[in-house]
Symmetry: none
Subunit: 331 residues, 2 copies
DNA sequence: TGTAAAGTGTCAAATAGATGACTTAAAGTC
DNA sequence: GACTTTAAGTCATCTATTTGACACTTTACA
């Protein structure tokens, strides 16, 4: 009936809007150009497009044009015949052949150099190409979806990208907005990933404290969904409690908010007590350390308004241990 | 129960902090990215991580990606089939295959070129790869730990490092601080290495004069632990007496000492450390008290010129107790 | 150089401390 | 009101720490 996002992408208005377009585009064979910052999940989106298309039973072949050295890219895309170049000891089909009957996803298409752009253009227009070092013209039935995080229009102006190819690709432009513009999705995805990692690691699910939610929403997510996923995995390993608190967040998030340390009351640098201090007070080691411990416990209890559970957490000791200590010290 | 550093890494607060993270990370299969100046002992740290993981019985395979010529690296990592290239007279498994069931350590991962980055990414995501010149897809069960002394985030910005790979690797970032920021470790390691070399060379153990200790602490250690180890080896050969004096030190250390900072004389009244201080240092109660105890014991030993009997008196504890403490803390 | 005094290291028994399992009580939630 | 969540208290068990007793070495000095 409607478009199935195939795994979670988001529910923000921005995305629901997109899904409506995709729903209409999926059944066709039109080329689609997806733009969006890296990490926004362009590939996920395109996979969903493929799955919702009549070609869903055919192959889905992603090619990251930016990640493959230029010398190899042509052979990667179109394949090569034995002996076409030094290391070509045997013939090999390229991605276009592999994608026959399905969808090919040309990621980072802005990185293609001009000579390859012509060849792609030909595939789009004529559905045909030759392998590197080959003479036989091959025909394929492939849907082409491209993506880039560059501004292709500007590249066209600069002469780095063929105008005709741009227009061929850009039949349906889809702009995947960055995560920071999809407020509602941030918490949705955060919960989704966190739950995923917790299940994966066999630990009970975690929840976010209100302050943490606030911080997550305010962060700019330069790495978008990928960065979010990453942070959640980290938290699933490092967070010790059931609830994620501010201190469990990566520094990067805190730094951006300008809240490095919550309470910067004290201006002077802290120095550990010295032997002189101890002797001045005429205490022995045990008494001295106990006094310090008492003070810290008392402060922690104040901080937690008497809730021993929390106080124990602050101090990084077990609740029962704290209770024993209080009992012994008669605090 | 806790993380075993497997050989000496250090005891400074900075490191104890790290060990806590490692303790949580070791049991998992998450990828870890270690950053730190060269010579800080990244490999040692990763070995310890491996030893403390459930994979400790499996192989540990370190690969220095920066030290292997680019042409050979792919074959080194993934192996090759007979005839894959000129000198491939026989098939050979790569490091990933060798590391199956264990941990692979990709040192200097920042040096990888983009085409290999894709392949590593695939191993991380899909746990599979092909040998060079091979068609068969191989599956491996490997934990991946990477290290670099470059700033990968910057390399990503510059386009030299794939963003997606960065996020995959950087799930748990571990920053190994340079030696100069780990004051307490300097003497600990110096003693450790010196003793090692003396034993190796069958000579009685050496000790440091107080002035030498001072100099060692003030030196900036640009070559970190590796440099320290070198110096100690040199001393173990060149020093003629039982005690290392200033003249036995390499000139390099002496020359640098123009930048001595005078010891800040403490004039203020003593106040007990507060909970804030503790939290600022991200320590738990136990660690915090232990750190203070360490400091006091060290100072008492200085005060008594190393005579444990007296030091115990100063501290108001039994001599035997002091000895046990020293043993446990390896002070 | 012989001897008392001071210092060291080890070990096993005694003591203290930490923690998980279990129970109960109170506070929210639907 | 039934159910869930959160906190608190107790206790048996396990671990860590302390310490006295013993044996040995070094130092001081008569």
């Amino acid at each position: 009936m409607s478009f199935d996002p195939c795994g979670i992408l988001g529910k923000s208005p921005a995305l629901t809007q997109l899904f409506k377009i995709l729903e209409k585009v999926a059944p066709t064979d039109t080329t689609v150009l997806v733009t969006g910052e890296s990490g926004t999940g362009k590939e996920l989106l395109v996979r969903a497009l493929h799955k919702n298309s009549p070609r869903h039973k055919g192959p889905f072949v992603p090619v990251n044009c930016g990640a493959i050295p230029k010398e190899l890219l042509e052979s990667e895309l179109f394949g090569h015949e034995k002996g076409a170049f030094t290391h070509a000891i045997r013939s090999r089909p390229g991605c276009f052949e592999l994608a026959n009957g399905g969808t090919i996803f040309l990621d980072e298409i802005g990185e293609l150099d001009l000579s390859l752009q012509v060849k792609i253009l030909r595939v789009i227009q004529e559905k045909e190409f030759e392998r590197v070092g080959g003479t036989q013209t091959k025909k394929v039935d492939v849907r082409i979806v491209a993506a880039t995080n560059r501004n292709l229009e500007e590249e066209v102006k600069k002469g780095n990208f063929r105008e005709d190819l741009f227009y061929r690709l850009n039949v349906i432009p889809i702009e995947l907005p960055p995560l920071r513009e999809r407020g509602e999705d941030i918490l949705l995805l955060a919960n989704f990933f966190l739950e995923k990692f917790c299940t994966l690691k066999n630990r009970p699910p975690l929840s976010f404290s209100p302050e943490v939610k606030e911080l997550l929403l305010n962060y700019s997510w330069p790495g978008n969904v990928r960065e979010l996923e990453n942070f959640m995995e980290r938290i699933s390993i490092l967070c010790e409690n059931e609830r994620v608190e501010i201190e469990d967040l990566p520094e990067k998030i805190l730094k951006e908010q300008g809240l490095n340390q919550p309470k910067p009351q004290k201006t002077e640098a802290f120095t550990f007590p010295s032997l002189q201090d101890m002797l001045q007070l005429k205490m022995d080691l045990k008494t001295f350390l106990e006094t310090i411990e008492n003070k810290l416990i008392t402060e922690a209890l104040e901080e937690s308004k008497g809730v021993k559970n929390k106080a124990a957490n602050i101090l990084g000791i077990k609740r029962t241990t704290l209770i024993e200590k209080i009992k012994k010290k008669e605090l």
